[in-house]
């Protein structure tokens, strides 16, 4: 009896020791939740804070443009949605989605300081914002002045991003959450298009990882769109498009290696370096599928407009 009890204790101790020993270097994996789709009831329960969090989780086009710059990728106007004519956007769906797409393009132009060429896009953004009755939040004159003078990129980035944040918040606060969702989805699709198109011309492992890592936020994006999927045919099709993108990401694996952050003080400031890492496992075929579906969906949505 005592022998049996001792055996159990030894096994428990060994299991505990083994678990602790592996904790610092063990690998975890990011997977989509079990269900393919998020129940509408769950999505509808999203609080304002949760929606704001999701909006913040969408990779900023400014971050993608910054990454491209750091990889010494030259600027190209070919990636921009220049075919869009703001005057032809008749429905609120088109206006809000296009507002997102052009917001991403504006971020790209600003980061590359191609601000002289951004005036046309700025005019389109103003038209669309006015069409959605949110023009009061887009400080067109100040952004235009900063763009032309090329004097202060920080102010330009701040005012441009802040204008979009205010529009987004106003739409949600005024029961027009579907337009806010469309704008955010537009920003993401255009940023994803930019990253994937650059990848075809200037392949780079860092950019490749960033494309693969979008799996992390795809579910959030669907969560945002889901309450409106049955609203009308346009929204329904957009939801199916997002599901198609998600399907292409299904077998992309993201694993994590754990580690403690290293902290030091440099000239009185705190500097932290993460030692835990994320690793993307994506085949060339999977990447090609993601590039293709992104291009098809983005171009279709732009052409519709």
């Amino acid at each position: 009896m005592i022998k049996g009890r001792s055996f159990i204790i030894v096994v428990l101790v060994l299991l505990t020791f083994n678990a602790c020993r592996n904790s610092s270097g063990r690998k975890a994996e990011f997977v989509f939740p079990e269900a393919d789709t998020i129940p509408v009831s769950e999505a509808e329960k999203l609080s304002t804070e949760a929606i704001e969090d999701i909006a913040r989780n969408i990779s900023s086009p400014v971050e993608i443009a910054n990454l491209l710059q750091s990889l010494a990728v030259p600027f190209s106007p070919d990636y921009l949605a220049s075919s869009i004519d703001a005057n032809k956007q008749t429905t609120s769906f088109d206006k809000a989605f296009t507002l997102g797409v052009l917001g991403a393009d504006l971020g790209y132009l600003n980061m590359y300081e191609k601000t002289g060429s951004s005036i046309d896009i700025l005019s389109s953004i103003r038209k669309l914002a006015e069409g959605l009755k949110v023009g009061q939040f887009f400080d067109f004159e100040t952004i235009k002045r900063l763009s032309i003078s090329k004097s202060n990129l920080d102010s330009l980035l701040f005012i441009s991003i802040d204008s979009y944040t205010q529009i987004d918040r106003y739409l949600r606060d005024n029961s027009r959450g579907q337009l806010s969702a469309l704008m955010i989805i537009g920003v993401w699709i255009e940023g994803q298009y930019l990253a994937t198109q650059v990848m075809t011309e200037y392949p780079d492992p860092v950019l490749r990882d960033r494309i693969g890592e979008q799996k992390i936020i795809l579910n959030d994006l669907l969560l945002l769109a889901n309450p409106y999927c049955s609203r009308d045919t346009e929204f329904g099709e957009l939801c199916r498009d997002l599901q198609s993108i998600k399907e292409k990401y299904r077998d992309v694996r993201i694993t994590y290696t754990l580690g403690e952050p290293v902290t030091k003080e440099v000239d009185g400031a705190l500097v932290v370096e993460q030692t835990e890492t994320s690793v993307v496992d994506m085949t060339d075929e999977q990447l090609a599928g993601i590039i293709e579906i992104t291009k098809t969906i983005r171009n279709k949505l732009i052409a519709n407009n």
């Binding site: 913040r56 890592e213 992390i216 705190l270």
Partner: protein, 144 residues
């Protein structure tokens, strides 16, 4: 009586307007002072009353951070605050990645730089030191 009421409403409105302007100025100053190599990404405007008891940090927001990116988190506290704005960032496993407040030494930092090597969704926890009342701005920038 009516005159007093009108004066009260005017003063109240003026207070709101002034408070808004102060916050806007604090935000723009915080953005502009982030540093020459910094590119603005987002800001968080925090206004908290005194916490009834010590506990978890009260203002929480999620944000995605991406591998191979260096971020700078700047913390700016409004002059009339009783405590200094502090920040702790946790990963999705609720583990602390960084804190602008060193509990051992009691030192607070006005900015923290993070070299991110793990893409994911993080929680930014803001509060004022010792759960004090205050208002402030947290600015997130990318460092080139």
């Amino acid at each position: 009586m009516k005159k007093n009421l009108i004066t009260f409403i005017v003063l109240l409105s003026a207070g709101f307007i002034l408070n808004g302007q102060t916050t806007d100025k604090l935000v723009s100053n915080c953005v502009m002072n982030a540093g020459p190599d910094c590119k603005y990404l987002k800001d968080f405007r925090i206004q908290l009353s005194k916490a009834p008891a010590a506990g978890e940090m009260r203002y929480k927001a999620q944000m995605s951070l991406w591998k191979n990116t260096k971020y700078k988190f700047s913390l700016c506290t409004a002059e009339d605050s009783k405590g200094e704005l502090i920040l702790t960032i946790k990963n999705d496993a609720n583990q602390v990645v960084l804190s602008s407040f060193d509990a051992k030494t009691g030192k607070t930092y006005k900015s923290v730089e993070l070299t991110c090597n793990r893409s994911g969704i993080y929680t930014l926890n803001y509060d004022f030191k010792d759960g004090q009342q205050g208002s402030g701005v947290g600015v997130v920038s990318m460092v080139r």
